[in-house]
């Protein structure tokens, strides 16, 4: 058995994903309220109220609690001298190997929510593929970006 990659992403990433889940659920709740009004106006079966409520409860459990937790637990990365290894996935666990010599460039980026939590996304591009690590502490992301770009400089452009 191959060992798992060593590092986990920031604990705050979990919070951010929960926040995304909350946003998603609130949108769904608004839709459900609209639906509820429709039920009221058109005098549809009262069971539909229950169905809508059930959908919201299940969705909030899944998208606020369950999915972020599994995703966070699964997400691992390791930057070694000669390659980057990533592991992620919800149902299907994906392990990706990117040799340093194949790295073309590294980016960090952050949206408003990530910025509030002091997190950043790091994106590693090869000639053909893009890979990103979704939530790293900003200093860590910057440091990692610099380290990767130094390590990748050994690469010879042969495409």
């Amino acid at each position: 058995m191959r060992p798992q990659p060593a590092n986990q992403i920031s604990r705050k990433g979990l919070k951010v994903w929960r926040l995304y889940g909350i946003i998603q659920t609130s949108i769904l709740t608004l839709l459900a309220i609209g639906f509820g009004v429709l039920i009221y106006i058109n005098d549809w079966s009262t069971w539909l109220y229950l169905a809508a409520a059930a959908v919201i409860i299940i969705d909030s459990y899944v998208s606020i609690y369950l999915i972020p937790k599994i995703r966070w637990m699964r997400w691992r990365y390791e930057v070694r001298e000669s390659e980057i290894e990533l592991q992620h996935g919800l149902f299907i666990v994906k392990r990706t190997l990117i040799p340093m010599v194949r790295v073309q460039h590294v980016d960090t980026s952050q949206g408003p929510i990530l910025k509030k939590y002091g997190l950043a996304v790091i994106t590693i591009s090869t000639a053909a593929t893009n890979h990103s690590i979704p939530a790293l502490e900003m200093e860590e992301a910057d440091e990692l970006r610099n380290r990767i770009s130094i390590l990748a400089r050994v690469a010879e452009d042969d495409v």
């Binding site: 000669s82 340093m100 042969d158």
Partner: protein, 514 residues
């Protein structure tokens, strides 16, 4: 320093005008019909003839702009660069260093032929735009084209020189000099007329044309009198289903014949030659095309057998190049049709670093169910719905289950892989069988995928991505032994470790090949 500036041949103006017309034809037709059908006389001449006026002035504008575009377009050579200046209102200058040019591709259309002209597309390493090549010279004489080529080889040779001076022993220099002397072209492949016929008749172009027809219908949907057609149609139905069937069949045959003719025209006289470090592909009857692919730009090689050709022992070979855009430019048909048993010998003549053997390691039987199990996720609801809504006949949809299972079995049996030195060979089937040959240094990233159920059965999938133009070409093996998948990861990792630390990469590489 004023260098001599060259202009394109005047045919360019005509080609430009026709191209602009082709783009403007749809709006023109709309204008024409929208206006032309109006009845009665308004008494104002400019309204009555509005459509003609619009069309006429548009034609004049297009012609004038075509001519001006031609007049404004100039190219010249300066400082080892190909410099192009163009533009109608906005003047564009583009300088392309010769050493950056990867290849020059030639196209001879029907307008080029009478004047012995070619269209030259300049391909560079980072051709950034998706549709067009870096530079395009619409029509120049063949002599002018070979002049550009001379400039290019000269510039490249100059660049090579200092590198070989640096090398420790004089050998590389000598080798290069030798190479330059025996600049010869070896013909590696040509399509015989019998093969061309088979290719045309079994080509998948049918689908393309059908979708083309669909697009056409959707574009002209408003203009076609459907109601009238429906009436006709219902009277046809009275004639009986047989005639409808026959008409549909005749339509399909017509489409097929069209596709045969098109394939015939575009693959006529298909020849592959090997010239120094370049693969040169020429083809076409009405429009002759000549594409150059530098060998070192080839990222992966695939042998593809579709189910129609496989029983007759035919295959096609395509290569993925780092240049070109998305899709068409990057995937190049190297051998459109070839007997399977001759693929290996022919390919090894072109790519000596690769080993073109069939992969040997098959998949463990415990992974077999995964090939069709996932399909039940969509099959069951579909079958359920069909059965519910169309009760007795909907049950026929159950027949899809054995079909999907058979396909899964077929995919399972077709899958195989081999690691040989620094090459990963993967054979897999969607519907067509594909054998992908990738070397370690061309694989950009490698991924191992495993679901919870896969893990319980100790199987995993491997996906290898190589560069193909702006996109990627992926080879995969699904549901292989978990330990083997990890072995492939380790194989990929080991080599790159050494690669990063060794500074004499090329020497290392050549040792490895032996």
């Amino acid at each position: 320093m004023s260098e001599q500036r060259y202009r394109l041949h005047w045919v360019t103006a005509i080609i430009e005008i026709l191209k602009a017309l082709k783009e403007a034809i749809l709006p023109l037709i709309v204008v024409f019909f929208a206006n032309g059908r109006r009845e009665g006389d308004t008494g104002l001449w400019y309204i009555d003839y509005l459509s003609i006026i619009i069309t006429g002035s548009l034609l004049i504008i297009l012609s004038v702009s075509g001519v001006i575009k031609w007049l404004r377009f100039q190219y010249w050579f300066e400082d080892n660069e190909l410099r192009i200046e163009s533009g109608l209102f906005v003047r564009k200058k583009r300088y392309i260093p010769f050493e950056r040019i990867q290849s020059l591709d030639y196209t001879e259309g029907i307008f080029h032929r009478p004047f012995k002209l070619v269209k030259v597309s300049v391909e560079t390493a980072g051709s950034s735009s998706l549709k067009k090549s870096e530079g395009e010279l619409t029509a120049i004489t063949k002599e002018a084209a070979s002049q550009i080529e001379r400039h290019m080889t000269e510039a490249k040779r100059k660049r090579k020189q200092p590198i070989s001076d640096d090398s420790l022993n004089g050998e590389p220099l000598l080798e290069e000099a030798l190479e330059a002397v025996e600049e010869k072209a070896v013909k590696v492949f040509s399509l015989s007329s019998k093969d061309l016929f088979i290719l045309a008749t079994t080509s998948g172009g049918i689908g393309v044309i059908l979708s083309g027809v669909a697009i056409f219908l959707s574009q002209f949907g408003d203009l076609i009198p459907y109601e009238w057609m429906f009436e006709e149609f219902s009277s046809i139905i009275k004639f009986g289903a047989l005639i409808v069937g026959l008409a549909a069949f005749a339509g399909l045959v017509g489409v097929w014949i069209l596709s045969v003719i098109m394939t015939f025209f575009s693959y006529y006289a298909f020849t592959v030659t090997l010239e120094e470090e370049d693969i040169i592909i020429t083809r076409g009857l009405l429009e002759k095309k000549r594409v150059t692919v530098p060998l070192k730009r080839v990222q992966s090689v695939s042998v593809i057998q579709n189910p129609l050709r496989q029983p007759f022992g035919y295959a096609s070979v395509s290569i993925h190049s780092a240049g070109g855009g998305v899709g068409d430019g990057a995937k190049i048909n190297l051998f459109p049709l070839i007997k399977k048993k001759r693929v290996q010998e022919r390919l090894e003549a072109i790519f000596p670093d690769y080993l073109f053997e069939e992969p040997l390691t098959k998949l463990p039987p415990r992974g077999k169910p995964f090939f069709y199990r996932i399909d039940f996720l969509w099959m069951l609801p579909v079958i359920g719905a069909l059965t519910y809504f169309f009760f007795p006949y909907g049950l026929l949809s159950l027949l899809i289950i054995p079909v999907i299972i058979a396909l899964g079995q077929w995919q399972y049996r077709s899958s195989a892989y081999t690691i040989h030195d620094n090459q990963l060979t993967m054979r897999f089937r969607g519907i067509s069988l594909q054998t992908a040959y990738m070397t370690r240094r061309r694989i950009q990233s490698l991924e191992m995928k495993q679901s919870y159920f896969n893990k319980r059965k100790q199987v995993a999938s491997i996906v290898a991505s190589a560069k193909s133009g702006m996109g990627q070409h992926r080879g995969h093996i699904h549901f292989m032994d978990e330990a083997e998948a990890e072995r492939i990861l380790t194989w990929y990792e080991k080599r790159s470790t050494r690669k990063a630390t060794s500074s004499f990469q090329l020497a290392d590489e050549s040792l490895e090949v032996e």
